[in-house]
Structure formats: C-alpha cells, structure tokens
Symmetry: D2
Amino acid sequence: MHTMKNNRAKVGIIGGAGYTGQELVRLTYGHPRMELVWVTSESGAGKRVPGTALTFDPVASVDFGSVDLVFSCLPHGASGEWSLRARAAGPRVVDLSSDLRSGEGGAVYGLPELWREDVRGAELVGNPGCYPTGVQLGLAPALRASLVDTGRPIIVDAASGVTGAGLTPKREYMFGEVAEDYRAYGVGNAHRHVPEMARGLARAAGGEAPPFVFTPHLLPVRRGILETMYVPLRERIPADALASLYREHYADEPFVELFDGELPSLRHVNGRNVVAIGFADVNVDPPVVLVVAALDNLVKGAAGQALQNANLMLGFDEREGIPA
Amino acid sequence: MHTMKNNRAKVGIIGGAGYTGQELVRLTYGHPRMELVWVTSESGAGKRVPGTALTFDPVASVDFGSVDLVFSCLPHGASGEWSLRARAAGPRVVDLSSDLRSGEGGAVYGLPELWREDVRGAELVGNPGCYPTGVQLGLAPALRASLVDTGRPIIVDAASGVTGAGLTPKREYMFGEVAEDYRAYGVGNAHRHVPEMARGLARAAGGEAPPFVFTPHLLPVRRGILETMYVPLRERIPADALASLYREHYADEPFVELFDGELPSLRHVNGRNVVAIGFADVNVDPPVVLVVAALDNLVKGAAGQALQNANLMLGFDEREGIPA
Amino acid sequence: MHTMKNNRAKVGIIGGAGYTGQELVRLTYGHPRMELVWVTSESGAGKRVPGTALTFDPVASVDFGSVDLVFSCLPHGASGEWSLRARAAGPRVVDLSSDLRSGEGGAVYGLPELWREDVRGAELVGNPGCYPTGVQLGLAPALRASLVDTGRPIIVDAASGVTGAGLTPKREYMFGEVAEDYRAYGVGNAHRHVPEMARGLARAAGGEAPPFVFTPHLLPVRRGILETMYVPLRERIPADALASLYREHYADEPFVELFDGELPSLRHVNGRNVVAIGFADVNVDPPVVLVVAALDNLVKGAAGQALQNANLMLGFDEREGIPA
Amino acid sequence: MHTMKNNRAKVGIIGGAGYTGQELVRLTYGHPRMELVWVTSESGAGKRVPGTALTFDPVASVDFGSVDLVFSCLPHGASGEWSLRARAAGPRVVDLSSDLRSGEGGAVYGLPELWREDVRGAELVGNPGCYPTGVQLGLAPALRASLVDTGRPIIVDAASGVTGAGLTPKREYMFGEVAEDYRAYGVGNAHRHVPEMARGLARAAGGEAPPFVFTPHLLPVRRGILETMYVPLRERIPADALASLYREHYADEPFVELFDGELPSLRHVNGRNVVAIGFADVNVDPPVVLVVAALDNLVKGAAGQALQNANLMLGFDEREGIPA
C-alpha cells in the first residue's frame, strides 16, 4: 500500500456511471479517510462526475498503480477481468460484480457480518450480491443454531426495485412496462444469484446447503429489496424467541437492525446501509416461521457493503464514512 | 322475479361510490340485459353517479322491491345485514363483502369456475374475495387430482394493489406512505380471507384443507393481485404436464387464461375479468412446483365475478356484459 | 373501396406492436363494422398479436390491396412513406405519425371536431398529435370568437405520461429515471408538435396563429396528457361564460366533455376517447383565463381519434366501435 | 440564550411526527452544534422518535424554557400560536407554518438568500413556504435588475409531490387517487401561498408586486417541487445572459445551484438543501424567458431552510449540519 497522506487512502472506481457507481462515488467522496482520485466510464468519458469536481476517464487511461484501492462496478463478465488487472498493478480491489464471489483469482467473499476475519486485510474481495446479502444474513443465525428442518425447502419470495437491473436501456425496464405491473422473473432457481446463496447457506449450516427455492419479482419502485422467507423448523419456535437468538447473534453489528413485533419494509432501509430483519409466527403445521429481510439494493446490497469491505481491507474502522 | 321488460333485469347497487362500486356501476350500466335503476351512497347522496345519468340515493330511500337483483358493495360487517334486508324485500342479492361467504342466511358461495351449479338460479350469493379467487382457481385442479403433498404446507406469497383496501382515508394507504414501499401485512395466516381460502381448498380437496401459509403484501400499484404459490408435490410433475391438466380442467372456462412457458403479471389482467395462471418448474427436492395466478382485484376479484354470478342467477349467459 | 362483406370493412395496421398500435388493435378488433385482417411488426414477426387470433407479419409480406383501410403507426419518418405506398395500392389510409399532418401527399388533417367535413370520405388522413389535439380543441372556440388578446402569448404548460414516447428503449424513459422525477423537455417551442399547433391555431383564428409558448413535461405516469393553458383575453370574461360558449360550440360533439366548476384531470379520461376541458377564473390584470384540457394520449390523442377518422372516411357513424 | 455546553445549542421540535418534522428530527439529530432535547407529538406521545433515542412528548408536558431554540412544525393555524407561546418562555423560535410569515408577533421572514441580515440574530422567524421559496429565488434577480415587463403577468406553473400536503389522511391524497393522475388545484391565485409570494416579489421589485398567475398541480411523486416560470421581458435577453446575471447575484450562495444549458428536475434536488435554477430561450414575441426552479419541498422548502435560519439566529455558520 502507498503511504497514505494525511491518513487518507487514494481510491479509484471503475465503471462509476451506473446506479451502483453513482452511489459509491457519493459515499467515497464524503469518506473522511478516502480520497477519490479517478472514476472511469466509457460512455461518460470527458463529462463531469455528478456531485464531484472530477471528470470521467476512459478505463484505458487511468493508472491503477496510482491508488491504494480500486472498486469495480462494471457489469458481470467484464468486472472480474478488470479487477484482476487492477489488482496486478498493486492496489487492493473490491469487485462489486458476481465474477469473483466464489473465490476466483484468490478473492475473499466479503460479507463482514458473517465472515469478517476473512476480509480484514484482504487484498481482493468479491462483494456480495443484493439478494444474497439479505438471504444469508436473514437465515444464517437459524442455520448455525440448527433450527431449520432441512427435509423441507426454505422458500425465499423476493421483490426488488428496478435499479437492481442497472442503467442499460431495455424494454422490460421502461417506465411504461414497469409501472402498475408486478412480475416474477428468473424463477425455478434460475437466477444468477442462486449459486452464491447456496454457497453461503452451506457455509452457515456448516455442511450442505439446505434445500431452498428463490423467486425474485420486479417491483415498480426505484430501490429496495424485500425478502419474505418461509423457514421450515424442526420444532415450533416462537417468533420472539427467534428474534432473541438473532439479537444475540448480531449483538455488535452496526448494520443489522432487528425488529420486534412489526416487520421491516422498504421505507425503513431506503438510502441506509442496513439489513432490517423481522419475524412472525405462522399458524401452520408442520411448523414454519416467517423471516422478512429488507435492504437497499444500492447501499447494503452494493456500495455501502463495498465500503465496509474497503474499510476492513485498509485497516480502518468498518463504519468509517458510512451514513447511519 | 319481476317480468323483465325487453328482456332486461332491473338492478340496484348498495354502496356504489367505492372502488368496487364504481367498477360495478360501469359494468352493469353497459350490460345489454340489465338496467341500472338506483345506486346508493350515504356520502355521495345527491351527487351524480359518475358515468351515468343517475344520482346517488341514501340507502334508506330506495325501494329494494323495485328491482330484480341487488348488489351490495358495503364494507364487511354492514354489507351482510343489508343484503339480507334487501333479499327479504324480494330481489335476488349478490353480496360482495365477506359477510355471507360461509353460507350465512342461506347464501351460496359464488365461484362459478369451481361450483357453477350452486349459483345457477340461486337467490342469495356471497361473492368471493379477491385473494381467495386466485388461490382457489390456482390450486383446485392440483388438489382435485390429488397431486399435492399435504404433509408440507403450500406457501401463498401474494401482493395486491391498494384499491383492494378501499377508499376510506387511512394513513397507511396515503400516496406518500405507499409509493416506493413494499410491505407484508396480515401475516401468520391472520388475514380475513384465510378461513374463506381454507373452506375452498378443503372442498376442492374433497376433505380437509391442506396446510397452507398465506402472506399478503401491499404493492405500490392501483389494481391487480399476483399470487406466487409454492405447491409441494407428492411426486415431481413437470410444469407443462401440470399446465395440460389445468387446460383440461378449465377447458370451457371463458374467464381462465392458462399460460404456457411464461408467467402472467398484473399487466395481462388489468381491467379484465380473468384469472391468468402460469406454471414453472423448480429445481429442488423434495419436489415443489410454482403456480402463479394474476387477476384484477376489482374485476375478476370483485365486480366482474359478481356479474358472472348475477348472470347465472338471472338465467342469462354467464358472459353477458362482461368485457373480454 | 372493396365491396364490404356483411357491411364490414377490412383493415390492416402497419407497425402494430407499439403502444399506439396495441391500442388500435384492441379498438379495431372489437369494432362492429371492421375486420382486422393483418397487423405488421418487424420485431414481432411470427408472434401472436396480443388479444387476437392474428400473428404479426413483416410489412413486406402483406398485400395492401387486400384491405379497405390501412392505419400506419410507424415512427415519424418511416410512417409517411409507408402510408403513401399503401395508399398507392388502393386502400384509404390513416397515418398516425406527424409525417402527413401538413398535407403531404394530399393528406387531409383529421381533427373531426374542428374540420369534420374535410375528413368525410377522404382517402388519406394525417391523424393529429396528442398534444396538438388538446391545444386545438381547448383554444379553437375562444379564437373563433376573437376573445384572445393576440398581443400577449398564450402559455401552454403541458405534461404527458411516458407512453407518449413509445416503446423503444431509451435511458431517459427507464423506470429508474422517470419515477419520482418530473422534468421539462423540448422547451422554447422546440417540440416537434409546435408547427402543427401553429397551423391549427392559425386556421381556428382565421388568419395568423396567435403567439404561444408550449412547454411539455414528462410525468411519472403511463398515460394521459394535461394541458394547462393561460389564455390572455381582450376583455375579462368569467370562466362560466367561457364554458357556455364552449358548450354551444361543442354542442353535438360526443367526444368533448366540458367541465363546470371543477377541472378535469388524467383520471377522468383514462382509456376513454374524449378531450375533457375545464375553465377557471384568474384574479390578475391584464386579464387571463385558465383553460385545462385532459386527454388520453393513446386514445383521443392517437388510436381513438384514428378510428373517428376511419369511420368518417368509410362512411360509418363516427362513434362506431369507440368506447364511451 | 442559555450558556451552550460544548458549544451546542439545545433545541426542541413541536409537532415532530409529520413529514417536515421527521426531516427536521433527522437534520437536527445529526447537527454538530445542536442537541435535540425533545420532540412533541400528540398522536405519537410515548412512542419512539424514529431514528433517535428520544420519545415523543405531548406538547403540554415540555418545558419550552429548557432549550435555546424551538422549531414548530404544527399545521397552519395552531403553529403560530404555539410559536408565540414558546417564544414567551425564552427560546428563539422558527415557525415552519405560514402563520408568522407576514411578520405576526414581530417575526422576521427567513429567506436568507434574499434577506439574510434580517435573520442573523433574530429571535422569531417565519420560515418560507415551499412554493414561495422557488418563486422568490427564481424571480428576484430578474426583478431586482428591472428586466421584467410588468405589463404582462408572470406565469408560474408549478407541480409538487404529495408530502407537501402532510400526513393527515385525506381521500384525495390516497395512493389510489394520486397514482396515474395529475391535476391542478388551488387555481386562480387561490392558493394559500399566493400572498406570501406577492409580498416577496414586491420586496424584490422594490415596489409593487408584478402581476403573476400561480397554478399548482399535484404530482404522483413523494417529494419535490418544479416551478416552470414564464417571465415576460421588457427586452429580449438570451437565457445565457440571464444565467450570468443570476450567477453573479447568487455568487456566494451555497444552497443555490444554477444550471447552464440544461434544466433542473426533481431528481437533481431530491433530499438536498438546494434550489436549482435553469433558463431557456423561448422563440416568441413579445419576449418571454423560461425560468425553471426545482427544490425538495421537505428540505430547502421546509426543514433544511429552517436549519439555515436557526444557524443564523444562533450565530453558527449557516451551512452547519446541512448536507450538501
């Protein structure tokens, strides 16, 4: 690492013109211990990076070696390659795409609330996906405590705002096609995020992943994810007992909010770097408990979590520069 | 019944100023074999019934005996009572509230696609709820064919537009509280519609209701319901085989649309009197199949279905006056 | 014209997969005196035309001579050319683009409420734009009565839903860019529709067009146009007197709705083939009166009006097949 | 004033449960030189103030004398009275309602960008309304430079998100009534904010207010105001020359953003304490120039501006605690 001047790390962002990139620009620009040095965008090259004094550079023109840490927000497919190229030039790298999440290139999976020690001081991190963040944080404590009946699948019925699909113009994400509609997509465990979830749940369960079904839906909102999870239990456990267990598990976590009695909704997490988790009893037999997780897909589901990881990689306080 | 002049039945609507009432006014007003004679509303009394030449009357001032059939769109609680009062005065009655759905006052449950013969010629009908319509039509063929593993609960994850909650001003339904939000409510099988679903599923199963979990969510859209149902199967059945079974079951139904390959969304059913049903394989063990039902809560989930029932009660073609 | 079998005219639609095309398919398909024979779409070729038993054809494969009337819903630029090519093959043609609105190819401008006789029996019609329909119907009676002070510009502040921009994917019309936003565009009388408005206002004024400023805005709604017009008056005229004048002017028009006391909004016109017009006094000097026009951009602003024109061209009742 | 411990002023908020109150809680809670001591709400009494460790108190139970400054966010009518009562107990007071905006009780009108010196050290301030903030900041430089032709009215066509109407449940602000609609209200200069605008414009003009027409519309968005202003000019002035004049006028203002070439929209100001102003030439005669102002009704239109005023009243840097 460079010798940080004034205790500030120099950072660069590859692919900073999309929704996630914009959020990351905003967060790093206001970060007390980071100095945003460059932001790349091919389509935006030469234009002002909104909210900053910088101008977008084409990726080919930046010197990766000039910074201490690089964030890559390119689309899946391209991002992993550029992340490795950047890493080879020296700086630590957080890749926000799904390319490095299963350890490609020696990358560490960066979900601090579950596996913080992996991230501390790491040089290359695969930043978790938005849906998998809620699923893993919402199910891990129950799995670690062996409460889940793995003979029945966990059902994860999820809904996301459209910024999760990025800024590339596609007919299915046009206002006229999304407003006043609600639809399932990527059904049958076909979503790109399913293998990532399976790996995470297996690790939390300390063995095989429990069977689960993941069904995402597209919501007519800009941002936010709500995951309604139907968890089969070995034995009936009251929702408030489960809440206590989670409260203990996440006792010192600044970015997990546990709800008592009521359930979180998108409103509670908008613009904030938190996963909010609530619980509800279900009157059915064999027993099932409802776990609802809400997060902002662009913050705790992307840029905010990337900042947690970057802070840990650089030896800063994990909460540094992350708005409560 | 009155001798119908010109083959037209005289009809009246109690509580016609709300969302369901407005839809029913629209449909009956354009009905080739109905003549809308009066519409009541306490709050709207004296004002024009939108889209018609009529004026809202207070309910106390109308003569129930002057019509052949009455629709009651009052809120739950009041509607059943007024329906029975109207019935006592002579006309046939369709109650759109939940008050008579379990047979109170001798009412017949009016879901024609499953139990049409009950409705034909009936004098008092309890019109199904919006959520239960999709659940029953979406699950009945599988239950009748004994495909469902009743040792595991069916999960019904549902989402509805806000017109389902009516026009009474409440803080939770204000635009500022609903837009950009998405939230679960009435969780844990606590929703008013759960007993109605249980009765219907039991009847379709020919015995006890299978265990199920119903979780409604509030969508930031005006109208439409999507129900994503996770159906545990005794043995794995491909989605297309299930689709064939449903196709046979609903072969002659004008108001059921079965999807092949893709899944229905709110867009497909907006303003139309149909339930659209689609199927998807899920790669999980033990086996589960996905059944997705979409309907317009104000049409097939309320006013349109009420018209199907009224047509059957009056001896008309069931499709009369119902826009395709 | 072909000898119409069963009194039905055969019609075809060029470019029927977009928003306007879909609406026109819906309306012609249910028209009692039209038979929809083919619908073209390059991108949709081979797929089902939604809501019909037809399949989209590529434009090159249809026989224009096989129908009595062709509607062209192609984008501006291409539409005029195809309209003339279709016309050359025999059928009457309604071009919904802006290409023929100033009389190119001998086309007649089809705004029946103002210049109906031009349209009756015409062979080629340029169908008015959505914004110009509201502006012309909202201002013509005042201009014809010489009430407007042409020494001050009329201000037309307009807002439209996004379906007005069509289905072609563009970043600026993505849900994430439109929701929770509201923005002016095409300002400074730069909008493509301004010359069309100027021609119409000049004709209504019986001379030169009055000076006017037209500012469109993009609304986060799917459909509907609201035009708030600030009309400078020679002398103060109360809004209700103006309303009376308009009521007389449009006395026999089935597709103009005049409001008394209140003002129309998008809700009133959604899905309907009407222009709704309201008036309000403004307490200011020199005198100004407010005229507000609302219409559904896809119906009275496009497909519904095209059907009015087609009915007139074919000698049918102008209201035939147009939902009230 | 109390001796401020640690350089922090103690503040209280009357009526802190509404939209404006919530925003003010958020801003004061994170303010480096303020300590939020109590927040009142009758309906919320006893419940947690969201995002804080405080509990809502009924207004009768708080000691106004315990703080250095009170913000009142009560509805118009009640707010002025409570502001004066609070003031009598010692603390400085910022009233966010319209009750004190014309100087009642000796209050100063708090629009710092135009009349900052009035506010510095003031003891009682009437905080400007959301619409008037944009109108005054958007028109004052042109009026001060005597560019406006006062023989023709300025037209202000404005649109606001629904949070401007507060949290009290009313039918017209229900999601089902606002979504997919757009409507004018308070037309004919009947809006409560018109006299406030007139006073401000008169003061900026250094004499009488120019004639103007103000027409607000309700947008289906949560927050944000866009004001499209048609300004009659004595002589034609290019938009960029006007922009230069404004740039000079607002040279040192941290909360005014001037746009070059493009126009601001709601997106640019969401959640931020700024008025964004843009300009466009209009090709019309007699000359008119377009001035478009955008602001967040809850921030620069309410809570953020209140904080500017409080900072000035308490002798702090005006920008303290206000997010850029």
